[in-house]
């Protein structure tokens, strides 16, 4: 039987990937961010996961508004990299896990979640910006990506994402083969990309969010989308993806590592929890 061995919440941003590719890991502005990933990578090396299930959001790279799915699940054997408009990064395609992907599709639909099932699922920085910091970029761990619409309103509630996490846990625990799964929730934390409030961050809220995610995620699941945006900026609403990760874990978790830095326009959070 498959098991959830832990969860990781991480911010994602094109900037992180660009800085990594340029080799800026030791530069004063970036070292506090990249150093935060080192203990989490060590933990992953120790617990040896067989699969990453990554709940993230697409940024109009795989999907466009001709048909924008609220939830979309990648079940293919390979996930290519999307060109986001400024060229691809030097990364190989990601391996998928069709056997688990189709099991997850069946389990979610049985559980009243109805994702668009994608045999081709190119992924953007929502998956790829932080991943090279956590594994070798020859991708030794296969990935099943689950995209959530948080860019074209109406978007699902935090409560819905928390319940999605519960459904992910049931799906993993009903997979008939041994598989050690780490669930990711990516996005946020506070940031706002346009308007008079461009560049707004809220470190107090970001840290309160990471506190509560660990100890009282149900309280975060009751916060409205309006409140997420009022506290963390329009794009800070991506934080709800972390609720899916937390919902996939049991009530009691052990914190492996936590990091928070905000060198530029986004509050960059990282939280690794063992189930």
């Amino acid at each position: 039987m498959a098991t959830v061995i832990g969860g990781i919440g991480s911010s994602h941003a094109p900037t992180i990937g660009m800085a990594w590719d340029k080799g800026q890991q030791q530069e004063p502005m970036w070292a506090p961010l990249f150093d935060g990933y080192v203990p989490v990578r060590q933990w992953l090396d120790d617990v040896k996961p067989d699969l990453f299930l990554i709940v993230y959001n697409d940024h109009a790279n795989r999907f466009f508004f001709d048909a924008y799915p609220t939830f979309a699940l990648g079940v293919g054997a390979v996930h290519t990299q999307a060109d986001e408009g400024w060229g691809k990064r030097p990364l190989p395609d990601l391996p998928g896990h069709p056997e688990f992907g189709w099991h997850l599709a069946r389990s979610l639909v049985d559980d009243e979640f109805d994702p668009t099932i994608c045999q081709e699922m190119s992924v953007d920085h929502g998956v790829l910006s932080f991943l090279p910091m956590l594994t070798d970029s020859n991708w030794k761990v296969p990935v099943v990506p689950l995209a959530v619409n948080v860019i074209q309103h109406p978007i699902p509630s935090a409560r819905r994402l928390f319940k999605l996490g519960h459904a992910l846990r049931r799906a993993i625990q009903s997979f008939p083969r041994d598989l050690r799964v780490v669930v990711f929730g990516t996005g946020g934390l506070s940031h706002q990309l346009s308007g008079a409030g461009y560049g707004t961050r809220n470190g107090t809220w970001d840290n309160q969010f990471m506190d509560l995610l660990e100890t009282d995620p149900a309280a975060l699941s009751e916060v409205s989308i309006q409140d997420y945006m009022d506290r963390g900026g329009t794009e800070g609403v991506e934080m709800i993806m972390w609720l899916a990760m937390r919902g996939a874990l049991g009530p009691q978790v052990r914190r492996v590592h936590r990091n928070y830095v905000a060198p530029l326009l986004t509050g960059y959070g990282l939280l690794a929890l063992a189930d």
Partner: protein, 109 residues
Amino acid sequence: MNIAVQGGYVFTGEDSARSYRLNKMAVSLTSPENRVRFQADETAYMRSFAMSEQEIDLVVRRDWKGMMDYGASIYLVIKIGGSVGHTLPQIGAHTAGMTLAEFQARRGQ
């Protein structure tokens, strides 16, 4: 219930419908071949997407704030930026009514 954020743009379905052709042209720029075609003749390229003169003018003038006021998605606007050499910080500052230098000076960066 209407959703809105002070000092920001919340991209709704209604915005998406209004700005559809502009966003559709922008998403085409995720192809390197299309970026070259766009750069060779922006206006002709945009006309091939049946964009209105108003929409074309917003792009020609690099009026990022105007595009956001029109209802475009920031994620599509930055793809146009990618093709014309404007970065997210430049675009974001413009939508706040500032140049990038003014924005950075205000932030002490």
